[in-house]
Amino acid sequence: MTGEKIMQSMVPMHERSNGLGGGFAGYGIYPEYRDFFALHIFFNSESSRTECETYLRTTLEIVRSETIPTRTIPEITDEPLIWRYFVTPLRSVLSSMQVDEREFMSRIVMRINTVYKGAYVFSSGKNMGVFKAVGYPEDVGRFYRLEEYEGYCWTAHGRYPTNTPGWWGGAHPFALLDYTIVHNGEISSYDANRRYIEMFGYKCTLQTDTEVITYIADYLLRKQGLTLEELANVIAAPFWSTISRREADEQQRLRYLRTVFSSLLITGPFSIVLGFEGGLMALNDRLKLRSMVVGEKEDMVYIASEESAIRVMEPELERIYAPAGGEPVIVRVKEGAY
């Protein structure tokens, strides 16, 4: 599917944002470079680009670098320099550091975002990309010409910042490697979560709460090897009273996850969609303080904050339902289809 449909779905969601941030993630959009990490980077100036590129060349082989094609429209202004690089780690550097390439790339992203002034990596996975800006999402999609990309999975977000600045890096999705997060809500556990996750090499630099959820997902899924269901049981852990009414084995499992990763419990309202290579996971906070609807038709799954956004994409659904708080909805693309 091209990015056209998901851009259309954001039109009736206009009231949910205020023009201070919109963005999309597309999966499967770079098949010709599927073996390379696609870095999308904002630069504040040519000098920050030169400085950052010099660093990239010391650690990565850059097989292609270009500006991301955009369309000049009155709704989107003050854009930074927006570049993308298809890269692969230099084997010599990789072997001397004794880490796998995903860990290597995540360290490079953290380094650029913390050390290189005026440079922000906002997308860093393989065969996927994040596109975001200050503006309404439907305009951001047109700005980035998303109708020209084709992928197997798309996510989108319109932002209404309440506590932190509306800037290009602060728009959703937030991404690290192939993990992306779009988030409706505000998490009250942000600082507790941030302090904990920063012990493991992550640095929260983007001035908003959602960023930390992305790093939590990366930490628990990639580094700790948890399943998606276990991730959901950590960040939206059931109440102790709910756990105490479960079967004995299940109680033990839930108690273990809540105890070991207690600092990664996310409190406050959220509905999130986590994108990853090959699928999606949607999740509400356990009190369900934000809305979420799931629709299905044949081999397509649609997830949105409101049913109307889904009806724009597919008026005739076979099934539509609202998942309960803390109940993850996991969607996987058929093996080999991406």
Binding site: L287, K288, E306, S308, R311, A322
Partner: protein, 240 residues
């Protein structure tokens, strides 16, 4: 009947058109426009498509009828009138509602009837044909919520934590509620003939709107939940 084609229109434009026309109005191709009928009285609005959040917020009379699903906060702070939904509804329907009636054929999301209240001759009523999500009647202070749990295929009639913070009003569940856990500040009892008498007119209207068998519904066991006393949370935070 006046027809308003909603496609591509903002809620402001739709509500302006509704205001300019007296009598029955049919809104077609609605897709997510919020606040339809907000604050209106004596309206007669029928809606095709999916109306957006806060449908009939502050409604002050008349009737809104929806032929598909409705989203969140249906009848938010409604004062009078009636909303009839032939599908399901989202979260927080009847939020702080203080009068009027909401009838839903299907299921309701979380927090139905949250902060519902009653005053003098104002008695808000919500009737849900299917099941209700968690926190049903949260902080309910007045009015009547009825959940019928029709066609629920073994699903619980209400999810977790119903009546949390309830301190007034009545909740009717068409079930013996053996599988429902209530907070200790409320009392659940099997509905008496008097209890059933109280909701008879609402059940009649429900069966009339959606073509349901009234006798079948009335022959079921209902459980009635009320708060324990006038001030069930008396010593929860401070001694007063």
């Amino acid at each position: 009947m006046v027809k308003i084609e909603a496609k591509g229109k903002s809620y402001v434009a739709i509500n302006n058109e509704i205001h300019q026309n007296a009598g029955e109005i049919l809104v077609t191709d609605c897709c997510g426009q919020r606040f339809i009928g907000a604050g209106m009285g004596n309206c007669a609005i029928k809606i095709q498509g999916i109306p957006g959040n806060a449908l009939g917020a502050y409604l002050n009379g008349g009737e809104i009828e929806v032929f598909s699903n409705a989203q969140d906060s249906v009848g938010d702070t409604m004062n009078a009138g009636r909303i009839v939904v032939h599908g399901n509804i989202g979260d927080t329907a009847g939020y702080a509602m203080r009068g009027g009636e909401i009838y839903v054929k299907g299921n309701a999301g979380y927090r139905t009837g949250i902060h519902m209240k009653a005053y003098q001759d104002k008695l808000p009523v919500i009737v849900i044909g299917g099941t209700a999500g968690s926190f049903l009647g949260e902080y309910q202070a007045g009015g009547i919520i009825i959940v019928l749990g029709l066609n629920r295929d073994g699903k619980k009639i209400v999810s977790n934590y119903p009546c949390t913070g309830m301190h007034g009003g009545k909740l009717y569940l068409c079930s013996d509620c053996q599988d429902v856990l209530f907070p200790k500040q409320v009392t659940a009892h099997t509905a008496t003939a008097e209890d059933m008498q109280e909701i008879a007119p609402y059940l009649e209207k429900f069966s009339e709107f959606f073509g349901m068998d009234l006798q079948q519904i009335r022959s079921q066991v209902f459980t009635v939940v009320t708060p324990d006393s006038q001030n069930p949370y008396k010593q929860m935070y401070v001694t007063n």
